[in-house]
């Protein structure tokens, strides 16, 4: 019963979030300067008839409730509306890009975590967390993602996965290092180490169990970190993913696309938060 009510609460929270994102995005795009303009207006080849049609279209897009109703209606029909920029259903635009972005996220997360875990394992062997280990992570966090991507482009080496992985690794390293350090100092681990239990068994049975719940939370945080870097990385490296689509949509005031991407991002963040929080709730239970 409790599980069901918790599930219902989560669903209600998600629904409220979807509504808020929808209203907020529509409002922001509607109020953005240039929403009612069209690049074709500057094109001297177009006749006055086209201009009149554009003016009529702009007049139809003027009212916020009407815009919301139109977007909600297109979502109910399942095609997420028609892209203003490309003139095709948003669903068609997003589907191939989701695979690209999903692959990028997955590879970045794997590489980022592998880097962070490696560094954290080695760093946690030290008695004190020296500047040698902390400084690179701090430096990487201080460099904006776009600057890091530009540096890679200028240097001609490194790609989108590399940049995102570095960012994820830098952010997760400190958490992982602290977690591991605390885990190694647990009395039962000290006892186990004193008894000479093998390293592999210690890591698999004791350390992993001790930091498992925190790792799940950290995974959620990593996903959020990766999502936040998605737009600059995809735009600068020309990755045909959802981040690049979002940027183009913002530049062209393409509300249906922006709305779809924002909703996807919001749902991904919510889901990662829920997954991250779940193990600790289980543990408490």
């Amino acid at each position: 019963m409790k599980a069901l009510s918790r599930l219902l609460r989560s669903l209600a929270r998600t629904l409220a979030l979807v509504l808020l994102v929808m209203i907020g995005s529509t409002l922001l795009v509607r109020l953005a300067p240039g929403y009612l303009s069209d690049a074709r207006e500057m094109d001297a080849r177009y006749s006055n008839t086209v201009r009149e049609e554009l003016a009529q279209e702009a007049a139809r897009s003027h009212s916020l409730p009407r815009m919301l109703a139109r977007e909600a209606n297109s979502w109910l029909h399942g095609d997420a509306g028609i892209s203003r920029q490309f003139g095709v259903p948003v669903r068609e635009l997003i589907r191939p890009r989701l695979a690209v972005t999903g692959g990028l996220l997955l590879r970045s997360l794997l590489l980022g975590w592998a880097l962070a875990l490696t560094a954290a394992l080695v760093a946690s062997t030290r008695r004190k967390s020296g500047i040698v280990w902390q400084a690179p992570a701090t430096l990487l966090l201080a460099i904006p993602t776009a600057a890091m991507a530009t540096l890679c482009l200028l240097a001609g080496s490194g790609g989108p996965v590399f940049v995102m992985a570095l960012l994820i690794a830098a952010r997760d390293f400190k958490f992982l290092c602290r977690m591991l350090r605390q885990a190694w100092l647990e009395p039962h681990l000290l006892q186990a180490r004193a008894q000479g239990i093998r390293m592999r068994r210690l890591l698999a049975v004791h350390v992993a169990a001790a930091i498992g719940a925190q790792l799940a939370a950290l995974a959620g945080l990593s996903l959020v970190t990766a999502l936040s870097a998605l737009v600059p990385v995809e735009v600068l490296f020309d990755v045909p993913g959802v981040g690049q689509l979002a940027w183009n949509a913002a530049m062209n005031r393409d509300l249906p696309v922006l709305l779809a991407v924002t909703l996807l991002m919001a749902l991904a963040v919510t889901a990662s938060g829920m997954l991250g929080g779940q193990p600790s709730e289980w543990e408490r239970a």
Partner: protein
């Protein structure tokens, strides 16, 4: 124990390195004999009749067979699917004779019925087909196909340079819309992966042959990678994954020149112009005194005289631009007015002109007769480094005559809203792309009634005598049958514009391109598409 942890870390490091190698690998795919270059965005449409963006235009150019082709190098119209064509003396009837044995890329026969249908479709689509407007009165055009190889187009009125219009009408199979899959041009669309690439394959039934009878096109296909980022385009070019780059920025041109000197070419001034103008619209919400400055010819001329165009060309374009004083570029040899006498850069003359017009210096600040300090903003679009630098140099130049200038950048939708809707701006710096050398294409910019008459859009009647004269001369060049009369009219408009400075022309950016040393047959031209206008002849070395 510590040794064990270090060992675990070492093993993880090896795994990480392997993962990194896999993650950073990027596969390039190109088929044998295939050409490759980049387009910025997904083509909006593969329907050749509805093309209105540059990327769709590229696909249309490469796939669409046309009755006549405008040779970008000689700037003459040449028969393509038509073996001959003629225009009646009154200019109202055009007769095409098709080549014998023409076929579409699927092997079906191409007859005059297909050609007539394709022309009629463009006319019927009206506003959805931008090319239809070039017939001036598309509703009154009739197309006949009296036999399998003859097409006759009847126009209600003469259209200047009508031959070039047929360069934009792709001949498709009648009644079978294929979105580029069945074509009469050198290639057809074989595969399209949204946001990634468009793959074109050679049309096996393409009838055209070169002078020695070899099959055209020489390349087996074209891979159009969709790459928006210019840095990425450069990287692909340097890696050999792309054969050409058009529209290089001066910075990238110089970078490539240092790395691969043999690959870059500066073709000299383009047909495009960069210009600034003041808002003279009576509907603008600007204060009355600012409107008075901007409508004052002496003010505009003084601004023009204060701007150092040579510095703009040298600093902003690294020497790859030519100072501009007219809307027609010297690259447009047929229409450029060589006797033009515009006000040249002369800061002393600018100061004197302003004094004569009632302005005066109050310390270092220029003020008008009523004491209002001359202070305004120049608007330009964000994300264009050259325009931002030009605006900054102009800001510096105008400070020398006491004007205080702010530079404001806006993204394009916001800029369009200011220019076309609210008219809430003082001055604007933008460029104009001229895809056609004929000044008739610029009618909508110069006619005072046009919404694209940027300094004062959609005037009910010409606001000034000189605008009325421009209207008269532009209408004359659009209707006259005499080339000499047309030239004289366009020369006069150039002189009026140089005297009145409604647009203050700054530079003609040069056409900068990069061509791989592996590519043969390239003959870059100033007119678009600069690099692949002769795509039939292009091929990679050793793959002919």
């Amino acid at each position: 124990m510590r040794r064990g942890r270090v060992l675990a870390g070492f093993l993880l490091a090896i795994l990480t390195a392997m993962a990194a190698k896999y993650c950073l690998a990027q596969a390039a795919m190109r088929l044998p004999g295939e050409l490759a270059w980049n387009i910025g965005y997904d083509p909006k449409t593969f329907d050749p009749a509805k093309v209105d963006d540059i990327d769709s235009e590229t696909v249309r150019y490469l796939t669409g067979g046309v009755l006549l082709r405008f040779n970008r190098l000689t700037q003459k119209v040449e028969p393509q699917l038509a073996e001959s064509w003629n225009v009646s003396p009154d200019g109202k009837t055009i007769t095409f004779r098709l080549r014998a044995g023409l076929k579409f890329s699927d092997g079906s026969a191409l007859t005059s019925r297909d050609a007539a249908w394709s022309i009629q479709r463009v006319l019927l689509l009206g506003d959805s087909a931008p090319v239809s407007a070039e017939f001036v009165a598309p509703d009154g055009v009739h197309v006949d196909a009296p036999d399998a190889r003859t097409v006759i187009v009847h126009l209600p009125q003469r259209v200047v340079e009508i031959g070039k219009v047929f360069d934009e009408i792709a001949i498709e199979p009648a009644g079978r819309l294929s979105e580029g899959r069945v074509t009469s041009g050198p290639f057809y669309v074989a595969n399209y992966l949204r946001s990634q690439y468009v793959r074109l394959r050679r049309n096996p039934y393409y009838e055209l042959r070169d002078a020695d009878g070899s099959v055209l096109p020489r390349a087996s296909g074209v891979l159009l990678d969709i790459v928006e980022n210019p840095e990425e385009q450069i990287r692909l070019f340097l890696r050999g994954d792309s054969d050409v780059i058009d529209r290089l920025s001066p910075e990238y041109y110089e970078m490539l020149r240092q790395r691969n000197p043999g690959t870059v070419r500066d073709l000299g001034p383009s047909l495009n112009t960069e210009q600034m103008w003041f808002n003279q619209s009576p509907a603008s919400p600007l204060p009355a005194w600012e409107k008075a400055w901007f409508r004052n010819q002496a003010f505009r001329v003084a601004v023009s005289q204060a701007i150092h165009r040579d510095d703009i060309a040298r600093v902003v374009y690294l020497g790859h631009a030519t100072p501009a004083y007219s809307f027609i570029s010297p690259a447009n040899t047929a229409w450029y007015n060589r006797n033009l006498a515009p006000p040249r850069t002369d800061v002393a003359a600018a100061r004197a002109g302003l004094l004569r017009a009632g302005f005066r210096l109050q310390g270092a600040q220029l003020v008008d007769a009523d004491g209002h300090p001359v202070r305004f903003s120049i608007l330009t679009n964000a994300g264009n480094d050259e325009r931002l630098k030009m605006a900054t140099l102009i800001q510096q130049d105008l400070s020398a005559v006491g004007m205080q200038v702010n530079v404001v950048t806006l993204d394009f939708p916001a800029l369009i809203e200011r220019l076309m809707h609210t008219q809430d701006y003082e001055a604007c710096l933008l460029g104009l792309e001229n895809v056609d050398a004929d000044p008739n294409e610029m009618m909508n910019i110069w006619l005072s009634s046009s919404p694209n008459h940027q300094w004062s859009p959609s005037e009910k009647t010409p606001a000034t005598a000189w605008e009325a004269e421009i209207d008269k001369e532009m209408n004359l060049q659009a209707t006259s049958r005499s080339d000499a009369v047309r030239k004289a009219a366009v020369d006069r408009v150039q002189q009026i514009v140089a005297d009145e400075e409604p647009f203050i022309y700054l530079v003609y950016p040069n056409v900068l391109v990069a061509v791989s040393t592996r590519l043969e047959g390239a003959q870059p031209a100033v007119l678009e598409p600069e690099l692949w206008w002769n795509v039939e002849d292009l091929h990679l070395r050793g793959t002919r």
